[in-house]
């Protein structure tokens, strides 16, 4: 079925994204470590704080979609689990719809931030004088990616539920609640 295939592909793509940004994070840790060692020897790369901040912004925005598909965004499961398959899938769809709408709004409101940096050619107010568009572009793209993945997941979930495939939709957009953190 198309919806199942789509969700499978989205999961695979996001896994790759997650490993890549995980690698970026690791590289940043090594960079920070080297800087500490060099500081003890009296020199420094300088700007580790600034670069860590950019890495954090990019890791955060690009990791969101992976977490969505791994059911990692915490939901409080009080009423939902008491219902049958129909009720549960309604809760799931409602939650995903709220998420998709909010994330789309966020991605849309993030554009002016990048736009201003491009128009003004703004540089960070730091010794590195990083051109802000350089780091804000990947950050913004991450939020857009999150919005796109949310929409595609929503459409797939609606198709699954319409076809009565509740077990599949629950796997794709259900919840482990806070329990999922343990996995």
């Amino acid at each position: 079925m198309v919806a199942e295939k789509l969700i499978y592909r989205l999961k695979l793509a996001n896994k790759w994204v997650a490993v890549l940004i995980g690698g970026l994070l690791l590289a940043c840790a090594i960079f920070v470590l080297l800087d500490i060692i060099m500081r003890q020897a009296g020199s420094s790369f300088g700007g580790t704080d600034e670069i860590s901040g950019y890495v954090m912004a990019i890791v955060t925005s690009w990791g969101m979609a992976y977490t969505l598909l791994e059911l990692g965004h915490v939901r409080i499961d009080l009423l939902r689990s008491r219902g049958g398959p129909w009720t549960r899938s309604l809760f799931d769809l409602g939650a995903l719809l709220a998420l998709t709408a909010t994330v789309t709004l966020i991605a849309w409101r993030c554009w002016p931030v990048l736009e201003r940096s491009i128009v003004n050619m703004s540089h960070a107010n730091t010794p590195l004088e990083t051109p802000l568009w350089l780091v804000q572009t990947p950050w913004f793209a991450g939020w857009v990616w999150f919005a796109i993945v949310s929409w595609l997941t929503l459409v797939s979930a609606i198709m699954l539920i319409a076809a009565g495939r509740f077990d599949q939709s629950e796997k794709a957009i259900g919840t482990f609640g806070e329990l999922d953190q343990a996995k």
Binding site: K15, A18, V19, G22, G23, L25, L26, C28, A29, I30, V32, L33, D35, I36, R39, T48, D49, E50, S52, G53, V55, M56, A57, V59, T60, S61, G63, M64, Y66, T67, G72, H73, V74, R75, I76, D77, L78, L79, R80, F91, G94, A95, A98, L99, T102, V103, L105, I106, R109, C110, W111, P112, V113, Q136, W139, W143, T175, E178, Q181, A182
Partner: protein, 427 residues
């Protein structure tokens, strides 16, 4: 406004909308109904400035540290070493559960990871040596909660960020209450096993030579803790830098024990990204809600609200404690912290309390939320590591430890110095 926000919060949460999204939606609501000017224009800038943050990157670093450490094989070594040192006490191996959890807490910033690690290592022993499953598993669930109190702590980083309090000071403030709780757990187990020796299993005394030899196995964890916390207080490193050092330390340990592989690395990274994004969606949502509430005049309204209630500071704290205990049955850890910080912390600070002290008090209450049913994550983690037996075993087993935590809450209120002494001494 406070009443509307609180009611909206509960309603949206019970619809099982993701917690981070609930916070954004509430922020939009405050913007539309209570703010004189449109705040949504600031949304993009808010998201950027919250995530472009060199302090918050300590969160994924500490998560990664934990993920690597859990897969490094160090837990087994630590457990067997501590077994040799504490199993002569009434309660035997139960103390090793608490002690291992305490040591793991000192390097890991997460309670769930701590409980999961100790449970995996300890559970097979319980059945083999004939321990009471209730007390044994309860001790793991409760011991695991120390992960968010004893530094480093991811929850304290989030608290510090959202309330603008110093993270090194918060870490220092958590040390004594964390160790106090660990000691309390050990005492309560001894007390129970002195009254009912059959619950404690066999007490074993190991030869001194054995005990000394086992100490070698504790070196990696102690070293890691000293490096992380030491570099912060020596002023060599910020919490973020110390976390980066810790990540490398954890890798070093894993390499020494021969547990590093490509699969292990990618699993650790995937786990880190998942937990980090989960935390960050909630944190960014809370920042946005904080911002809208402050712009809509929460401060003024809170003063009026408090005057209307006519509660003394002590009564306010009592009410807050009760709110956390009740909410803690259903919501927990980070979600509970983050959804309440925007309203509760300004309220408490307005009554003249120290935000660092309150952060520690809140952590104790959240630790309790981790082991109180029906929603208590550590209960499920420990049950998941058990091969058999009903869930109610674990729930009943945590009761003595919940009582110990309540005592700690009372002690913190009566003697705030338990938390504030160390941060004060450092100044």
């Amino acid at each position: 406004m406070i009443v509307y926000v609180a009611a909206g919060l509960l309603a949206l949460l019970s619809l099982s909308i993701p917690v981070g999204i609930v916070l954004f939606l509430l922020g939009f609501g405050v913007d539309i109904f209570f703010s004189p000017f449109p705040l949504i224009r600031g949304l993009g800038q808010m998201v950027w400035s919250t995530s472009n943050n060199a302090t918050l990157i300590a969160i994924p670093f500490f998560v990664l540290l934990g993920e690597v450490l859990v897969r490094s094989g160090v837990a087994e070594k630590t457990y067997s070493a501590l077994d040799r040192w504490v199993s002569w006490l009434p309660g035997g191996l139960v103390h090793a559960n608490v002690a291992t959890a305490t040591m793991f807490s000192a390097t890991s910033g997460s309670s769930v990871a701590t409980a999961a690690t100790v449970a995996t290592v300890a559970m097979p022993q319980a059945e083999r040596l004939g321990y009471d499953p209730k007390l044994f598993s309860g001790a793991i669930a409760a011991g695991g909660t120390l992960g968010i109190m004893i530094p480093p702590s991811i929850n304290l980083i989030v608290y510090g960020f959202l309330t603008q309090t110093s993270i090194p000071k918060l870490f220092l403030a958590g040390l004594l209450p964390g160790l106090g709780l660990a000691l309390g757990f050990i005492l309560v187990v001894m007390l129970i096993c002195a009254i009912r020796p059959d619950l404690g299993g066999e007490r074993r005394v190991f030869p001194v030579a054995d005990m000394l030899k086992a100490l070698v196995n504790l070196v990696p964890i102690i070293l890691l803790f000293t490096i992380i916390i030491g570099t912060i207080y020596k002023g060599w490193a910020t919490p973020t830098e110390a976390a980066a050092v810790g990540v490398m330390g954890a890798f070093l340990i894993a390499i020494c024990f021969g547990h590093v592989s490509a699969g292990m690395l990618s699993q650790s990274l995937l786990g880190t990204i998942k937990i980090t994004s989960m935390i960050m969606l909630v944190v960014i949502g809370a920042s946005f809600l904080n911002f809208t509430l402050a712009s809509a005049g929460l401060g003024r309204e809170l003063s009026a609200f408090l005057d209307g209630l006519g509660l003394s500071p002590l009564e306010t704290i009592m009410v807050v404690v009760v709110i956390y205990i009740v909410l803690g049955f259903f919501i927990e850890t980070l979600s509970l912290m983050v959804v309440t910080i925007p309203i509760i912390v300004p309220l408490v600070v307005q009554q003249g309390y120290d935000p660092i002290w309150f952060g520690i008090l809140m952590i104790v209450l959240i630790e309790m939320a981790l082991i109180t049913p029906p929603v208590g994550l550590n209960l499920y983690v420990v049950q998941g590591a058990r091969k058999s037996g009903p869930m109610s075993d674990v729930m009943l087993g945590t009761i003595p430890f919940v009582a110990t935590m309540l005592l700690m809450v009372a002690a913190l209120i009566a003697w705030p110095q338990i938390a504030l002494f160390l941060p004060g001494a450092i100044e």
